[in-house]
Symmetry: C3
Subunit: 349 residues, 3 copies
């Protein structure tokens, strides 16, 4: 949709420098924006692109205003304001109330009149679908699934029995929520399945990435608190709890019963083993393997970056003898100390 | 369903301490169980919770019996017995024989009268679906797929041409079995696809996690032997063979043609490269990268745990000079040896 | 299908040694081929199997010809020729033109008469489906999706709004192309979603593995150039660009805005962080973590292989003190140098 710069400034609390009657209809990058577009500068890495932008207006912070060759919307938090203006100019496709003729809906399901159930969706018995919810094409809901208002379930999502999802969530295609946790008792060389009887409870404003899997709890529930954001291809095992506003990048995974605090940031490919407790405000950089509980907020790392293969190999070979090397160093230190203690000073020098 | 303690003791071979007429209807955790529930104590980590449990009865081992404040079902293997009692009290939803009107089933498919084909499932030509099988909503079976008795295919599973699955298996949502293996011949700067002409053969009592992928073989088949348990988001490449009762945790992967023995345990995030042979009874801890064949049963590891970022970085920087450090140590050792050989003893001391 | 050796030699430019009238109908492995099958020898690891093969004919290089006990099709590039002959003898199932009665197709979609839309597929408004395209059962296409001629979309694929796919591509089951990129602005302890307004553009002859995810761009598009091959369970983040003929093995991932050159080879489980630029012709071995841009073609590595757990642990413990060890070595070197400088020579020796 279109708006004037004056409307945007008023609606989003910015200071406008420029003609309030100019009309914009989209967002763009600093380097690629057309003359009807809003760009933004929130990362100093891109400051060099400001001088040559052809955007109609740039959202930026106070200290970048003077360097802006076009109109500007000035705000202390330009990235958040950009996010809001982008959502305003590019609203998500509207939900079209109603159930598609090809959807299969159990008679006992309660679906709000304002909700949309798309083609080939399947809604099981005793489900409750809130107002303005979208259930995408081909998604399958088991029995007794509850979805809060204005949540959007993309196409081809699976929500299994008893899963409860809050309001204003987004679940991307291929996500599987509520499959059995992975629990087996060793039984004379084979494995006896442990029934997975809990479910998954997800708070408001949660986003869940494509093909991410969140398993149901064994007896109690797996819990994802409000505001959590999960990227694609993430594995959340049974009885995990993720604290509010924690964010996880793609291909990471958390093993059974680990509890993660609020506002944690978990990089791509991180793996946490089972049974840990991670306090609030912890950041794990990409590909870390977390093997111990953490009770101190801060940043934790655990990856060795790739290098040219020959150089890597020489160091990796040495790593395989690191314990021996440490013992040799200790031996050398002992010999050296003994030598220092027993050697006469060279009084000639 | 409900049962008396006397019934449970008799059916599952436990020694009952308590009133045999008490009725229970569910399982619960030691700390959370209500007074109609069965709890269990199988891991000494939870022993402290025993004293305050409000469960009707606790399944436990002989040495924990005296510390139990409520009734007890005593057995030498309390975890396996718990698994069986939980399955007895909480049976899986019954299969409802018949083909849903919205399913699309090829005329040549043979479906046992006791099998259920759910809404929007698609069954290709010449498939054979055994007795008591469930094919979940939206699942797609290609041509000539065979499914053994009592196997449960969850919603939104894909089984491609020729895949054969044994009896009593469970396949979770989003799993893809029988997609093409990843094979290409280099062809003057581009890639020529190698046709993937084998299929996937899966034994009895196998469980396959959500969004896990198992590729078809190139010429011969990919084989998953009986009793194998695979967690979510696992990648099994073409022509892999997994031995009976091997278990793999989530986000692990095995590259082409690697053969894994029986009763192996493969931790989360483990990666095995192609062409290896792993003997029976090998355990790889989480996130190990397996680059060599293993012919000795035992435990193998390969991960450096995350630490506070500053500390990690200091060590990681040193790792990049580990080869140089090893050479410096060798130099120091040589100099030291020479010095010891050529230094007069301090005879004053 | 069947062919004579003479036909194969003529069609694929091989030198035939053997009876041109022999008929073959399939491919097989050197060790397992039946007498109506074509085998191949392209990897010297398998040379020992040549002497005992029972294949009708073996495709091999000039220097293996004399050791072949059966007929041979000699070519300088036996693996590529094998790929072509295998595809010729085992053609993919033919596309059956037409839209299945259970598919849901928007009135505004343009579907080539020669294309097949399978059962329960969903095609959104303004899609364009090219000649000879297959859209598999249960696949869902959003609005304005474009698919080039002869591309095969497997069952249960999701292509979201605006995605454009070239000709002769293969997309395997469960792949999700065009889900939102993972972008959020920190907003006073919570996260503000950044609208993801770009799409995904995929060139010709691209193959995309099962359950792989490719996110749409934030403003500009995510781009996969022609001839790229992606294995299963790969995560490609928003605004990534993959150069032509680059190949990635399973469970690897690339974070936002990273640009990878042409003809790169990316091993299984590799992770690249965001914002990097990788030049053409770079090979990353399995499980490497790429944290810096690369402007020099070559091979890069970054993994420590698993070892017997006790040995691994001893070295891993030392790694945690590597910085201290390096400082101790430097101290010892200093003391040693001082000692050498100040010690009288033993003139007795």
């Amino acid at each position: 949709m279109a708006a004037t710069l004056g409307e945007l400034a008023a609606r989003f609390g910015c200071e406008l420098h420029g003609n309030p009657d100019v009309v914009v209809g989209r967002v763009g990058t600093l380097s690629g924006a057309s003359s009807d577009a809003v760009a933004f500068l929130a990362n100093s890495l891109y400051r060099a692109q400001l001088a040559s932008t052809r955007a109609a207006v740039v959202i930026l912070g106070p200290r970048d205003r003077d360097g802006c060759p076009v109109a500007s919307l000035v705000h202390a938090e330009p990235y958040v304001i950009y996010a809001r203006i982008a959502a305003f100019l590019h609203p998500a496709t509207a939900v079209v109330p109603g159930v598609h003729a090809s959807a299969v809906v159990a008679a006992s399901a309660r679906i709000a009149p304002s909700a949309e159930v798309a083609a080939h969706a399947v809604i099981g018995p005793d489900c409750t679908i809130g107002a303005d919810v979208l259930v995408g094409a081909g998604s399958v809901l088991g029995a007794k699934v509850t979805i809060g208002a204005a949540t959007r379930i993309a196409p081809r999502v699976t929500l299994l029995d008893g899963v409860r999802i809050g309001a204003r969530c987004i679940v991307h295609p291929g996500a599987v929520i509520g499959a059995d946790g992975f629990g087996f008792a060793p039984d004379h060389g084979a494995w006896q399945k442990i029934p997975q009887l809990g479910t998954v409870v997800i708070g408001d404003d949660v986003e869940i990435g494509a093909n991410t899997t969140i398993d149901r709890g064994t007896i109690d529930d797996t819990v994802i608190e409000e505001g959590v954001k999960l990227d694609n291809l993430i594995q959340i095992a049974h009885n995990v709890r993720l604290g509010a506003h924690t964010i996880m990048a793609g291909t990471s995974g958390i093993a059974g019963s680990t509890k993660v605090g609020k506002r944690c940031m978990i990089g791509g490919g991180v793996l946490m083993i089972n049974g840990l407790t991670i306090c609030d405000d912890v950041l794990f950089t990409f590909r870390s393997v977390v093997t111990r509980s953490v009770d101190e907020p801060g940043t934790y790392s655990g990856v060795l970056p790739a290098e040219e293969a020959g150089k890597w190999r020489r160091n990796a070979v040495r790593f395989r003898k690191l314990d021996e090397m440490a013992q040799r160093l200790a031996d050398a230190e002992r010999q050296l100390a003994k030598l220092i203690a027993t050697t006469p000073k060279n009084t000639d020098g």
